[in-house]
Amino acid sequence: MIHISIHEQACRGCQLCADICPTKVFTYDTSLMKAIISHEEDCIGCLSCSYLCPSGALHHTDHHVVKNFYHDLEFLSRMEKFL
């Protein structure tokens, strides 16, 4: 099963993940002003939330990795060298 984690301090409370998620995995806690993972089991691993999240606070594990044909290969080779 796909596991999602939110870096709580990094969440800026923009609700963009809740708005974009096609399967309504997230809810929004109005008192904390943070996103909450309510239905993790519904996640289809499209990563829309992860791409839209302004702070990069969302991390998925155990999802099916689709090889993106339009990745910049030249840069990808450098990516793992970033400190």
Binding site: A10, A57, L76, L83
Partner: protein
């Protein structure tokens, strides 16, 4: 325990070199404050333009190179560093992306010399110097265009905590703790949804302290910028200018760009249209791409047309 064993080892030797940059990266080493003492126990600094009087390049384990390649001297120094060091770290945004020095790509050498020496209102001499300075290269480039780079540490300058961790991880032979999160991750503002329908310039009004700049109509680059700084600017009331370079998703995917990513997020939390945000960023492209424009990682994107945007903006002034 581990500390006692590490002090017995031969110290790791380090060369640093300073190409076209402002010296901020070297100053950031001093900003490690007392943590520097921990590092100094395990390293020996050989070539360092601000510390040691060594002009040649002795053999060293680690080479820290800051600054972009702007002059022929920069190219020579970078090549010598590569020859003398086992591991080369591109250190700071100038070395990784070209940085502020890289903004020189939007003007020709003649235009730059004319602006600095020829028709500068604040200098008396109207002649460009011909001796005593190293000749300019045709273009400004990040160092990995000239030499093979093993590791990249962006930031302007990288926060001392990241330099400390990078050096320590190399000494201890472990992976560094560097994260892929953006500047927003350490900002203390909340991204609220608002009815703002107009983009504001940085100098217009005073931004509220609690809410995100994007929510208030100010263009802040925090969400597209790698966190190598601990977010001091947005936390203290200034919009992020993107000095540590773009996040991984912008760098790796040709269809994602600084302006489109900001426009996607900002248009969803305000009433400003996506196209308006994109054209505003293109209009002030020199500011918003000032740190990364010389890098092929940004410059090669099919939709990146900075010279055209700048020409459009300048035409409007005239």
């Amino acid at each position: 325990m581990s500390q006692t064993t590490s002090t017995k080892k031969a110290p790791v030797t380090i060369n640093t070199e300073w190409l076209s940059d402002c010296s901020g990266c070297h100053v950031a080493i001093v900003d490690m404050h007392e943590k520097l003492l921990n590092v100094l126990e395990a390293i020996e600094i050989l070539h360092c333009p601000v510390l040691t009087d060594i002009k040649d390049y002795p053999k060293a384990n680690i080479g820290l190179v800051s600054g972009a390649i702007r002059t022929e001297h920069d190219r020579h120094a970078a090549e010598e560093m590569r020859k003398s060091c086992d591991v080369i770290i591109a250190w700071g945004s100038c070395a990784v992306y070209g940085g502020i020095a890289g903004a020189g790509i939007v003007h020709s050498k003649e235009e730059i010399f004319d602006a600095v020496y020829g028709n500068n209102k604040t200098t008396i001499s109207h002649n460009s110097p011909t001796t005593g300075i190293s000749p300019f290269e045709k273009l400004v480039t990040p160092i990995d265009e000239v030499i093979n780079v093993d590791l990249y540490l962006p930031g302007c300058p990288p926060h001392p905590a990241f330099i400390f961790d990078a050096l320590l991880s190399l000494l201890e032979g472990r992976a560094p703790k560097a994260t892929k999160e953006s500047v927003c991750s350490r900002c203390n503002r909340t991204m609220v949804h608002t009815d703002v329908d107009k983009i504001k310039k940085n100098f217009e009004g005073v931004a509220e302290k609690e809410n995100c700049f994007l929510s208030q109509g100010y263009i802040c680059l925090g969400s597209v910028t790698l966190d190598r700084c601990m977010s001091p600017c947005p936390t203290n009331g200034m919009m992020c200018t993107g000095c540590a370079g773009a996040t991984m998703q912008v760098l790796t995917e040709p269809n994602r760009d600084i302006r489109t990513e900001i426009a996607d997020r900002m248009s969803k939390i305000t009433k400003i249209s996506r196209d308006d945000i994109i054209s505003e960023i293109e209009y002030s492209a020199k500011s918003h791409y000032s740190y990364t424009m010389a890098s092929k990682m940004i410059g090669k994107k099919p939709t990146f047309l900075i010279k055209k945007w700048i020409a459009n903006t300048e035409a409007e002034y005239e």
